[in-house]
Every structure is written in C-alpha cells, then in structure tokens.
C-alpha cells in the first residue's frame, strides 16, 4: 500500500480513496459514543487521530483548500472543534452580543465585491480586490488553537497565508512600527453597528514584528471552505497566541502607522483589555481568572474538566522571543 503524505493525498486523491461521507460521519458518531462512555475515554484519543488525519469539508460553502504548512506550530495535533460549534458560537458584535447571534444575523453580510485598502506608511499603497488578495500567495491549512478572553477555546483548521507575504509586497517604510486592521462597519447589513457596546468600526492592531511573524495568518477560509460570514468572511486575521478579539474579522483596511493604534476593546475598557492581550494564564482578567479554559466540544461535554491555559496559548516556543525582556504583567 502506498503511504500518502498529506499534501499529495489532499490535492489529488483518487475518488476511490475518499472516505465516503456516511462512513466518515458514522465514525464521528462512534467517536462520540466512545467519548461518552467512561471506558471509551482512553480509546477516544486514539480514535480521534484517525478522524483528524484530514480535514473533511463540511460541504456548506465554496471549497478553499490549503496545502500543508511548513511554519513551525501551524499543525496542532489536537482534536478539531466540530464545524458546527466553530460556526455557531461566535463573538462578532456587529451582529449581536450573544454568541448565538452572529450565525442568525450574519446572512446579510455582502462579501462580494470586497476590497481591502492598504494605506499609511508603505511604498506601495493600494486597493486589493478580494479575488486578487486570495491569489497573492499559496493558501495553507493552519490548525491553530483559539483561546477567547472569556475563557473558552477551540481548535480550528484555518486556510490562508502568512500576513508577512502581503506586508513584504507592499513594502512598509522604515518608520512603520505598527499595523492597524480596520473592519467593516455597515449599519445596513450589520444590525448592531451603532449600538453603544463598542466604538465602530472595530479596529485592532499588531506591532510590526508580531504582524510579520509567520504564524500571523491572513485568513480566507476554514475547514477547507471559505469563511462563513459569522467567522469574519471574506478575510480576517488570526493571531493564535493572542486572545481571540485581537483577530479582527471582515477587514476592509490595513494601515501602517508609527504609533500604537487604539483598538476597540482597549478603548472600551483599557484596564481589562490591553494592546498586547497575549494569552497568559498568570495575568488574570480583572473580573475572572485566565488560568484555565473550557475547550468547546471536549469529550464528556458538560462534565469535561476545564484545561490549564498555556503561556502564549502554547506558542511560546515560536513567539516567546518577541517579548523578551518585556514585563507582561504591565503590557497585558
């Protein structure tokens, strides 16, 4: 038997080799059964490896395949969060503050035509149509942990390429120290833009070295398909070592600036949400502990124990050096 590597098996599978949907789903059911029983607990992890060997597209949206990524840390081996959970439990305040709201309300978001404006301190500013932006560099699949500041987490197979690829193309000037992401704020299609929850448009930012880090992903898809609207279609940022709110959704402008840009949650409550907002179990949110997290869909469901949160969400080996010598209690 031929042992297929992930990339050649993924891009050109013979139809006879594709696990049928029913068999796959049957396997998932079996998995759930195993995870449910106490006796199956040990076996579930072993079985999950098999189910995870390739990301099966949920078959809901247009396909967007990503090749295997060579970036260190880009291939978490943990069990993927169910697509259903990842696409129905979201924070996207433009569509409502309840985590069930975005999936109900985001259908109105128009993702075509879509342009992303590159402006500020760059040698090559300009407007990119979304189709051109998608083709700018090879799409990769990146399986990242996502840790929300609220204390829950997921494991999601994103599709995109390192933001650094785009940054290199537009050639930042030497005084560009930060990158600001401005997201869409269209009251016609986003019912909660205008509510007093946050200042609109939602804006986020990264320091230049953070933005250039290969793990920082300019993201167009997940689970082998384009992003669902509620997950930030058509293009968002994913920064896996920071709390989820740093990963701005539905981006319309990427601006290169000299001074630290003000960010939406920082403006709303500076003592609760810092500019850096690196995942850090040792720095509590003023209103709750960040030492542990609930992994959505963890085996055992309701009775699953919370997990210990890892420094930089487990990406310390890759990003720790960015913050060498910095007091992370002060720069939270």
């Amino acid at each position: 038997m031929l042992i297929r590597s992930r990339d050649n098996g993924f891009t050109h599978p013979a139809s006879s080799e594709i696990t049928s949907r029913s068999a796959y789903e049957g396997r998932r059911d079996l998995l759930k059964l195993m995870a449910g029983g106490a006796a199956g607990a040990a076996l579930a992890g072993w079985a999950a490896r098999d189910a995870m060997a390739q990301t099966v597209a949920p078959g809901k949206l247009a396909a967007l395949k990503g090749g295997k990524s060579a970036v260190p840390g880009a291939q978490s081996m943990e069990k993927l969060t169910d697509y259903k959970d990842a696409s129905s439990y979201n924070n996207f305040y433009e569509f409502g503050t309840d985590k069930g709201d975005p999936v109900k309300n985001a259908g109105t978001l128009k993702t075509r035509p879509w342009t992303v404006e590159i402006e500020g301190l760059v040698k090559k500013p300009g407007k990119y149509g979304i189709e051109d932006l998608i083709k700018l560099s090879a799409q990769e699949e990146r399986i990242y942990r996502l840790r929300c500041v609220e204390g829950w987490s997921m494991v999601i197979p994103w599709v995109g390429y390192s933001l650094a690829e785009l940054i290199k193309k537009v050639e930042p000037q030497s005084n560009a120290k930060y990158v600001e992401f401005v997201t869409l704020a269209d009251p016609k299609t986003m019912p909660f833009v205008g509510s007093r929850v946050l200042d609109w448009p939602y804006a986020e930012g990264l320091r230049m070295d953070e933005a250039m880090h290969p793990l920082t992903l300019l993201t167009f898809g997940m689970y082998g398909e384009v992003l669902p609207n509620q997950n930030g279609a058509p293009v968002r940022i994913v920064v896996p070592w920071k709390y989820g709110f740093k990963s701005a959704k539905s981006i319309v402008k990427i601006r290169f600036v000299e001074k630290e840009p003000s960010t939406a949650w920082n403006k709303s409550a500076a003592n609760e949400y810092g500019f850096y907002s690196n995942v850090n179990p040792n720095v509590d949110h003023p209103r709750w502990s960040q030492a542990t997290e609930r992994r959505i869909g963890d085996g055992g469901g309701l009775f699953a124990k919370r997990r210990k949160t890892e420094m930089f969400n487990g990406y310390e080996a890759q990003v720790g050096q960015l913050y060498a010598g910095m007091d992370l209690k002060k720069f939270y």
């Binding site: 959970d85 503050t97 929850v197 209103r287 709750w288 609930r294």
Partner: protein, 218 residues
C-alpha cells in the same frame, strides 16, 4: 378566575408548569441540545429562571390585591420555593460545571469577582426564607417576625439584579437587565403606593379633625 385558582388540580398543575424549564434543561443536557457550550447555557438559563421566578413571586401580592384574586395566595410559597430551587441549581451548575467542585477555587472566585459575591450573597440571604417557609416555622417565629424576615426578598431581588447587571456590564449589554429591573421596580412601586394608600385610609376616617386643624396652619 378565583374558582379556577382554587380548583383541586390547579396547584399540582402549576407545580408541573414550574418544573418545565428544569425538565427542558435536563432533556437538553442529556441529548446534547444545549449548543456549543452546554455548561455556560445551563448556568445562564438557571440564572434567568431564578430572576423570572423572583418577578413572578413578587407579582403575587399586587395581583391578588388589585384584581381581588384571593385564590392566588396559596401559590405564593410554592413560587418562592421555585425561585430558591432554580438559584440552587444555578449555584450547583456553576460549582460543578465551571469550577469542578474545587472548594478553594470557588472561595477565591467569590472573593475575587464582585458579581459572583453579590450573587452568592443573594443566595445566602434567600436560604433562611426557604428554610422558614413551612407552617411550623411561621408559628415558631410569630407572624410579625416571620413577615419581617421575609421582607428580605426585596433586598435579594436587588442583589440578583445587580449580579445580572455586573455580569452583562462586560459587554455593555443592558437591555435584558433593564427589563427585569423595570418589572421589579414596578412591583415594588406598587407596594409603596399601596402602603401609602392604606395609611391614608384610616386617616381619611379622621378627616374632619384634620380638616379643622388644616386651615389654621395655612
């Protein structure tokens, strides 16, 4: 209406009705129907139902008096106990699914987070009310003292609302909080209004005397 309220089957029926939300949550938990984060869903819904039962039980007296529905009186204790039931399940869900029954962690959490402290205080204060809800306790305490003790429910409702307000403050999302606060405020305002009017009634009987005094004053 009064006849209906006094019907033999009415009370068991209301009892079952009050259990419906709980049954629905248990069913959801067993069949994996509580969404992506079932623990959060359980904790939030049991909190919601506690607030709803507080509103319902506080509505009993205003409705009984203003609509002359004397039959409502026999439901008050049961409704109050259901408020306690839901807050107990609320606290249990939090302690179990969020904190894994780690007593040390729970104690630290209560001390650290004001909104949890306030919610916990409301639960603690509600406990003696639930514990003195049977007839013998009323006799033992004497009606006056029992009533004074049970006036604590107004403070408890306020603490419950503050707990909810602080919990939602993180998202600046107060619409629902204001709905509950409005209901509780209206029910308490009725009591004040009713109290003042009751006081005025005997005064009205003495009205001629008052009237004679008044002119000299003005």
């Amino acid at each position: 209406m009064n006849k209906l309220l006094l019907h033999k089957a009415a009370k068991p029926l209301v009892f079952l009705l009050c259990l419906l939300p709980f049954a629905w949550l248990v069913f959801g938990a067993v069949t994996d129907g509580l969404g992506a984060n079932p623990a959060e869903y359980l904790i939030r819904s049991t909190g919601d139902w506690t607030l709803r039962f507080l509103c319902i039980v506080l509505a009993v007296t205003p409705l009984r008096v203003s609509l002359k529905l004397t039959g409502l009186a026999r439901y008050r204790r049961m409704l109050g106990l259901f408020a306690y039931f839901y807050v107990a399940v609320h606290l249990l869900s939090y302690s179990w699914f969020d904190m894994g029954f780690e007593v040390g962690d729970i104690a630290r959490d209560i001390a650290k987070r004001p909104f949890i402290l306030v919610g916990f205080a409301a639960f603690v204060l509600l406990t003696p009310l639930a514990a003195t809800s049977f007839n013998r306790a009323i006799k033992a305490l004497g009606a006056k003292r029992w009533q004074r003790l049970h006036k604590l429910v107004y403070l408890i409702a306020g603490l419950g609302l503050l707990h909810f307000f602080w919990m939602r403050a993180g998202k600046n999302n107060f619409a629902e909080v204001f709905v509950y606060a409005g209901i509780v405020a209206a029910l308490l305002a009725w009591r004040v209004w009713h109290f003042v009017r009751q006081k005025q009634k005997p005064a009205a009987a003495r009205a001629p005397a008052v009237a004679r005094v008044q002119p000299t004053k003005s």
